[in-house]
Amino acid sequence: MESKGNDLKKKETARVYKQQQIAPGIYDMWITTTLAERAKPGQFISVYTQDKSTLLPRPISICETDLANGRLRIVYRVAGKGTSEFSRYKTGHRIDVLGTLGNGFPLEKAEGRRVFLVGGGIGIPPMLSVAKELKNAASVDVIVGYRDKELFLADDLAQYASVHIATEDGSVGTKGTVIDAIEAERLKADVIFACGPMPMLRAIKKYCIEHGSQAFISLEERMACGVGVCLGCVVKTREVDHHSHVKNARICTDGPVYDAMDVEI
């Protein structure tokens, strides 16, 4: 039987602790919520709007947690009606959240190995909690790709590891992509944890095949339920999935993190 018997999640009315804009269109929100207790790096939460014309949860990666104060942090881009509503919340505003969701990054794969933490654009936030919680790696290099000089979270990441920057416009660091930065700075790793746009994840997968390293990538897809029942957010898998019995896995539940070789991207 596949029932886990105990895979507790919660939907609750939480409160905004504080929020600020940290780059054009990018917001940084700390939320006071019991969900902070169960958060693991690479997991996400479902955030609901108060406006009931927009029903579905918005899945947003957890950027960081503050267990002592019962808070978690999300850093998100305003992309539509839901995130637009969230960006207007001030301290004390009600925010309905459900979580914590997804499998998270397998941090144990980093033990004794050289690690890259790769983030591209709005894929950067979850890498902060990975950087914070990673233990016993042989080395850690954070490689982050931005469009321009708006280097959100770079300073936060620098507290935990060396940060290498790539910008599309060349204003800071290596001009180009994270792969360009890896090559320019001659960085090496055995295992990569990555989150970012699909072209970046494909490039990381290609890099791994060429260099014999292993990558764990965080995927996204349009979601409805977020908890594994609706089968909306599937990714094609290389092998038949043990739950679905077809070559599809649920990004919200079986993922969002996958070994890059196991998924067809």
């Binding site: 029903l55 579905l56 949860p57 349009r222 409805a224 679905s244 019995h245 077809v246 599809n248």
Partner: protein, 302 residues
Amino acid sequence: MNTEITIAGVTFKNPVMTASGTFGSGMEYSDAGFVDLNCLGAVVTKGVANVPWEGNPTPRVQETYGGMLNAIGLQNPGIDVLIERDLPFLKQFDTRIIVNVCGRTVSDYVEVVEKLFDQPVDLLEINVSCPNVKHGGIAFGQHPRSLFDITKEMKAKAKQPIIMKLSPNVTDITEMAKAAEAAGSDAVSLINTITGMKIDVHKRAFALANKTGGLSGPAIKPVAVRMVYQVANAVKIPIIGMGGIANAEDALEFMLAGATGVAVGAMNFVNPYTTMEVVKGIEEYMQQYGIEELGEIIGAVK
């Protein structure tokens, strides 16, 4: 106060069920601690076919005003997995089990109902919104003759009572309901999703990979209530009503329109506790109005 209902000789502790496709086989909502399955009248499982189906390419889901579109494409692990994995799980709970059945041809459906013959399942819900390959992709449930034929075949081959799940994408749903009744169906459930479309104006493309999808959620409730009312006044067999139920009041609307059972679907995604709240809310309503049993309100609005 008695919240029990009976459909085709099967008694349910209350009228509240899950809408197929929105609840899996109950494992996820139960394991998460969102829903105590013992509280529900029934769990209606995701549609299952004779073999695993992969479903459609993504994006499969999109939000719409007060609702959502889905084009999952009936991905399912096949009947053998349902029997081996999901039914033993559901048997642990004190709730009725209704298995939703899909197929591409009538013989596909027959294979599933025959495999379920000796299984601990209380009723079968036959999904006739699956495109019928033999008739050029027209769903079984959109043509009264094919609906009649498949219903007859299901009644001939199945052990459990049959519920025909009706598609709203027809000119006259009462014609479909009558065809199901004439063929011997024990009950009907409605509505399934309404075909819809969304276009992304910035990408200048369809928002769903499948182009069209099924609309569900609160946006469809008025259409669903109207159809339940029409069907209730056209056939004698019991109705399980669904379409945007978000709370007990919505459920009661369906019952007053003529539904004996009610199912919660898309709103599970918005509030995972919805089914339990609907059960409680119905009890409170009965308390408030001194209603002893639900027969007093089913179809009471004429």
